[in-house]
Symmetry: C2
Subunit: 84 residues, 2 copies
Amino acid sequence: MNPITILGLCAAFCTSVSFLPQAIKTIQTKDTSGISLYMYSLFVFGTLLWFLYGIFSSNIPIYIANGFTLIFSLIILGYKLKYK
Amino acid sequence: MNPITILGLCAAFCTSVSFLPQAIKTIQTKDTSGISLYMYSLFVFGTLLWFLYGIFSSNIPIYIANGFTLIFSLIILGYKLKYK
């Protein structure tokens, strides 16, 4: 694996995993007042496009990362819609 | 420009722009109680790595997108640190 792919995998790991503590915090506190509905609506859609881009361009870090990010951000969006 | 690059640019546009309404909301309301500090700390670092990955792999959608995302997420992180 070349160094650029490793850099991409580290980047993918950080940005994807970062949505996990937000999802956990949102599930535990149900405090979504400071969270933007516009952000998560657009972000979920964009992450789905990134996921497809990763698949069509055979870019492993991108589609793995965005698959996980999509799950976490969908949870946050769901809570935002339920507890807004 | 091939269709996969266009898909990547659309994805980049959505996920990058999505952080703008969050940044605006956070600046206007200063309500950061529902925002995870762990998320934004890790996300800012990960976005920096994505930016470098985009530059080193000459991937235009990735480094343009993450350059903007880095600015917006740094603003949100700054407000979270100031108004936690």
